[in-house]
Symmetry: D2
Subunit: 92 residues, 4 copies
C-alpha cells in the first residue's frame, strides 16, 4: 500500500512533464546548444524531481510511518530508520 494514492494524478502529470523536459535536453545536446543553458535545464529537472519526491516523502511520513509507529515498537523503529535513510539518500 502506498501513502500517495490521493494525489496520484498530480504526481503522474508532473512526471510526464519531467519526461518531456528530459527529451528537451536531448534535443539541446543534438543541436549543440551552449553548455550553461543545458546545465540550467538539468538543474531544473533535478529540482522538479526533488519536489515530486518531497511530496511522496511527506505523505509517507504522515501515512505509512505513523501507522507503523502506532502498530508496535519494533515496526516503528524500523519505519523511522527507513525514513531517515531514504531522506539522506534523496538529499545527497
Amino acid at each position: 500500500m502506498s501513502s500517495y494514492t490521493e494525489n496520484k494524478d498530480d504526481l503522474l502529470k508532473r512526471l510526464r512533464r519531467i519526461e518531456g523536459q528530459v527529451r528537451g535536453i536531448q534535443r539541446m545536446i543534438e543541436e549543440d546548444q551552449y553548455c550553461v543553458d543545458v546545465l540550467v535545464q538539468i538543474a531544473a529537472v533535478r529540482a522538479a524531481l526533488y519536489k515530486v519526491g518531497f511530496n511522496i516523502l511527506q505523505n509517507h511520513a504522515h501515512g505509512c510511518v505513523m501507522k507503523a509507529i502506532r502498530a508496535e515498537e519494533e515496526a516503528g523503529d524500523q519505519a523511522i530508520d527507513e525514513l531517515l535513510d531514504v531522506i539522506f539518500r534523496f538529499t545527497k
Copy 2:
C-alpha cells in the same frame, strides 16, 4: 559552440536511459508501489542527471571558460562568474 561535442553520443545514450527511468517511476506510481521504493528510484534518476551535468560542466570549464579567460580580462571574469553560478544552482 559547445564544449561537449566529443562525447555527445555518450551523453545522449545516458539521457535516453534517464528518460526510460522516469517512465518507470510513472509505472511504479500507477501500480501503487511502496513509497520508499519510488523514492529510491527518484534518488537514482537525480544522481544519474547529476553525473551527466558534471560531465558537461568539466568539459565546459576546460573548454569555453579557459578560452574566454585567455581571450581577454573581462570575458574571463564573466565566464568564471557564470561557471560558479551554474555550479551552485546545480548542486542545490
Copy 3:
C-alpha cells in the same frame, strides 16, 4: 526534555574539537595559507557538524517523535512536520 541525553559527553567532545578546528581556520587565514587548503578545512568542519546533527536527529526521531506519535494524533502530525522541516533545513 532532549533525546540525546545518553550520548551528551560524546557530542560535547566532538563540538569542542569542532571549535578547535574553527580556530585553526582563523590561523590559516592569518598566515595567508593557500585558498584551497582553507576550503578543504571548511568542508571538513561542515562535515563534522553534519555528523553531530545527524546523531541528534536520529535520537530525536526515535525518541521525541515516536513518543509524540504514540501520545495523540495531532501531536504526532506536528512532530513529523517539524522533523521533516528541520531535516531539509539541515541538508541544504
Copy 4:
C-alpha cells in the same frame, strides 16, 4: 599567496562569530535544550561556514585560477580540476 588577502579582516570576524556559535551549541547541549532547537543552530553554523567558503572560493577563482590559466596550458587545466574538486567537496 592567497586570493583573499583583501577581505581577511571580514573573514576573521565572521569566523570568530562562528566559533562563538559553536560554543553556544555546547551550552545548549549541557542545558539539555530541545533537539530541534539545537539542530536549527547547527544548520545556522553550517550555513555561515558555507558563506565564508563561498567568499574564499570566488576570490580564488577570479585570482589564483585565472592567473594559472593565463600562465600556461597545463597549470590552467590543473587549476580548473582543483577548483571543481574543492567545489564538489564543499557542496556535499
